[in-house]
Symmetry: none
Subunit: 188 residues, 4 copies
């Protein structure tokens, strides 16, 4: 499986570099060097730098989604599912900083193609239907699910940035507080 190995190594190297220096700030030969492959090799696996960033975006997006869904106790209460979701996201981000940073940084980047955008859309849908259902059950507020989503997701993203900047301490108590704050925001 030498081939896939190489492909993954390129994606891994690109992930770290794009997260740290951005898409335009990262030269393809640099990715090649970090992946320990020849510069030309990248073009055997990816048509162009844009294709590379798109395939990477999809891979990482899928990884987060799977990470969250795998842990989700779909049979439990909405509150319990919210807890799981919150902790999954935080957990994933802390263990995969580059991945999370990369995804946030490239959200809606002009070089993302239709497929990447569609995947993003589908991901959002999962959360939206959850919030639509809990609203119907009068558990969460009778507010457009998109609004609640924006609040929860936006808050989490910012929270993580503050944690990484050292402005918010990373401990169980703080995480529980943050989770409660967000639940209070959305619950009826």
């Amino acid at each position: 499986m030498a081939k896939d190995d190489k492909r993954e190594r390129i994606l891994d190297a690109a992930l770290a570099l794009f997260a740290e220096r951005g898409f335009h700030g990262t030269a393809v030969p640099l990715v090649a060097k970090a992946a320990e492959v020849g510069a030309g090799t990248i073009y055997r696996y990816f048509e162009s730098k844009e294709r590379l960033v798109n395939e990477l975006y999809r891979r990482e997006k899928q990884r987060v989604v799977e990470h969250v869904l795998r842990a989700l106790p779909t049979a439990d209460s909405p509150r319990a599912q919210f807890h799981s979701f919150f902790r999954s996201i935080i957990g994933f981000a802390l263990e995969n900083r580059a991945s999370f940073t990369f995804l946030e940084h490239h959200h809606h980047a002009p070089y993302l193609d239709t497929e990447s955008r569609a995947l993003e859309e589908r991901t959002v849908m999962l959360a939206l239907s959850f919030l639509a259902e809990t609203a119907r059950q009068r558990i969460t507020k009778p507010v457009a699910p998109e609004v609640l989503m924006a609040v929860v997701w936006g808050a989490i993203v910012r929270l993580l940035k503050e944690i990484w900047d050292g402005h918010v301490s990373l401990d169980e108590a703080t995480l529980d507080q943050a989770e409660d704050v967000l639940w209070e925001a959305v619950r009826l």
Copy 2:
């Protein structure tokens, strides 16, 4: 005032382009063309591309802060001040989409200099002391102000993106709902 005129035109052009395509994605000649000046002219007003982005960052940051502070009813209740803050930010962003997008996109960019970072710090402090004081008065939650800040600010940023993407409708009712959701998140 031909001189200021040109300087402002460059900053305005850079604002629109940096917001849309990012710093590295925007070539200086492109800014020049948009500002309808020669490429060399930009360097009469700004030492380098990095200086340009920094001066732009400061100009825009100051504009938002002033916009918010000017309207803030400091003598009124914290709830009233929160309302003013929320509406000021939303109002500013909607009328200055490029400015808001640019500031968000360049938050903590590696090419921001000490002065720009210091200004950012001072801005954040304003919000943090407000939340620290209301917490002391047992109006907002006894949670680190940085956490509440992250929630409120992160939520607002995301909300605006969703509005611009057309996923959240822009009407008084929705805005009031969003504001209430956030206030419930932070209030005791």
Copy 3:
């Protein structure tokens, strides 16, 4: 005489800068700033940067020649005249380092025009005829005057460089020695 004043100031500024940084290394606006005139003003007095360097070359060349000729005891012995010449050149160079350096550095520069080259030629002629005459008188060697000229002039130029570099000490004894060495080289 405000006009000539300005012209001279431009030439003076250009002399110092061209000597220090070379022709291509000196920007016209820099000359303007050093001369305390507007950049456009230079073009009122000189058609182009090349014209400026040519007129400067001529002015400085004439200055050295006049300096040397003024002191030359044409009625005295060739040896005395040689002494005067040697000391005049050294004296001029030490008091006008920029001028001397500039002239040496621009000797045969591709942007020197016909007039500048012709002046150079005429200058050389003065020395050549002196050496031709002394050769005829069997005072200096029966060698092509161009060869003796090359030796004397080349040696002096190099000597001055070594003095300015601090490799050769600048005192009467050393100067006398150097002069004797050169006279022995040319004398029969």
Copy 4:
């Protein structure tokens, strides 16, 4: 040896152009064109234009030194060694006009780095110790070797210029005369 081939072609092209037009007067794309390589290729072999000129300076300096030393009859009389030195230099210069002109033109250029300067220093030392030793043996004049060096070297440089300008004819007799003139200058 495709690699060395290209590197050498770049150095050769740069040598000709720098000798003719100077460092600042020669654009990198011009060197590329003359070397028949792409402009970017130059930067695969040389970090910067300054690095290129330094590596070129060292290559050429070493070539002259080796050329001279290889022929030097170290066991013979000082006069014989002087003869060898004189003819070696003249021979090298005539066969490598660009190299000689380049080295003279870039002597002490502000963009030469420490290594280049050190090499220059070492080169000069060789000549200085020769003159110091012959002075001790009362063969050359009891004059600072730096002065004699300046005379000999300056004279040779100038002589070559005059030869190339066609002012001094290039024949055995003339060369012998010039050599004698210089030996008389330095000998006791």
